[in-house]
């Protein structure tokens, strides 16, 4: 995806929320959408199955207005977490500028988190991205669950965050940590605009 279009003075950033099924990816986008002032509320596209699981993807366009003469837009996507939607995840990753990995903090979901992270790396590589350098932020969601049911942040970080990227604790269902995560990935993506030569290296 072309991030900066000098001719039309537009900046467009595509951010994908990735993670295992039921980790809270759609909930992140729903919270962002709920906080948008009315005049900026576009349309959040959400395709779900009859059991409320994301079937294809969620799409939330964020129009930030004109900044320094550039019309700035963020496009937030989620992927379906269930393993059998591999082709869709790959499709949604095309042209991605930054990834938020939403991990489920529940101890019993650790294997699913690892599998999803490996799936992310494989799909990024297939799409021509270097999984070691693409802007990435980790979000450890569901921190409100009883301590006996969830892994510690340190353990999650040790297991999942081998790149040492920024990580955030979150309770997406009530909005905690959602905007911190979005702000962080936005900063990483925008920082890349300043150093385009480093892209893909």
């Amino acid at each position: 995806m072309s991030v900066v279009n000098y001719g039309t003075r537009e900046i467009t950033c595509k951010i994908v929320y990735y993670g295992p099924g039921r980790s809270g990816k759609t909930t992140n986008l729903q919270h962002v959408y709920s906080q948008l002032p009315e005049e900026r509320k576009g349309k959040m596209v959400s395709l779900a199955t009859e059991t409320d699981r994301t079937l294809f993807f969620d799409f939330l366009p964020l129009d930030l207005g004109t900044i320094s003469g550039f019309a700035t837009r963020f496009q937030l996507y989620t992927v379906p977490g269930q393993v059998y939607y591999a082709a869709t995840r790959k499709l949604v990753l095309q042209g991605v500028d930054g990834v938020v990995f939403v991990a489920d903090s529940q101890s019993r979901q650790l294997a699913e988190n690892i599998e999803s992270l490996q799936d992310l790396h494989a799909n990024l590589a297939d799409e021509g991205f270097d999984p070691r350098t693409i802007p990435l932020v980790m979000q450890y969601n569901k921190r409100d669950l009883p301590s006996g049911e969830i892994s510690s942040v340190e353990d999650l970080d040790e297991t999942l965050n081998f790149r040492g990227v920024p990580h955030y604790s979150a309770v997406a269902v009530n909005g905690k940590g959602v905007f911190e995560t979005l702000r962080s990935i936005s900063t990483l993506v925008l920082a890349r605009l300043s150093a385009p030569a480093a892209k893909g290296s």
Binding site: Y6, V32, F179
Partner: protein
């Protein structure tokens, strides 16, 4: 029961926007070269194209300029 004050509508988003705006401004500034390229002018129909459609106004476009000579030739023919 005490109730927490409701957050101003768009409060979280407004904070986010303020932060991101600064990041975008920094990024645009760092891209000094290409960013200073003037925006494209809105495209208009070239004037030349419109003019091409006009019938050329030349001296022989339906106007008989050498009438006397032609009259002479007609008289000659009749003879």
């Amino acid at each position: 029961m005490a109730k927490e004050p409701e957050e101003e509508e768009g409060g979280e988003f407004a904070d986010f926007l303020a932060d991101v705006s600064k990041e975008v401004a920094d990024a645009v500034e760092s891209l000094a070269g290409p960013a200073n390229v003037p925006a494209e002018e809105p495209r208009t129909t070239p004037v030349v194209a419109a003019e091409r459609k006009k019938t050329p106004a030349t001296v022989d476009s339906g106007v008989i300029a050498e009438w006397p000579n032609i009259a002479d030739r007609l008289i000659e023919e009749v003879r």
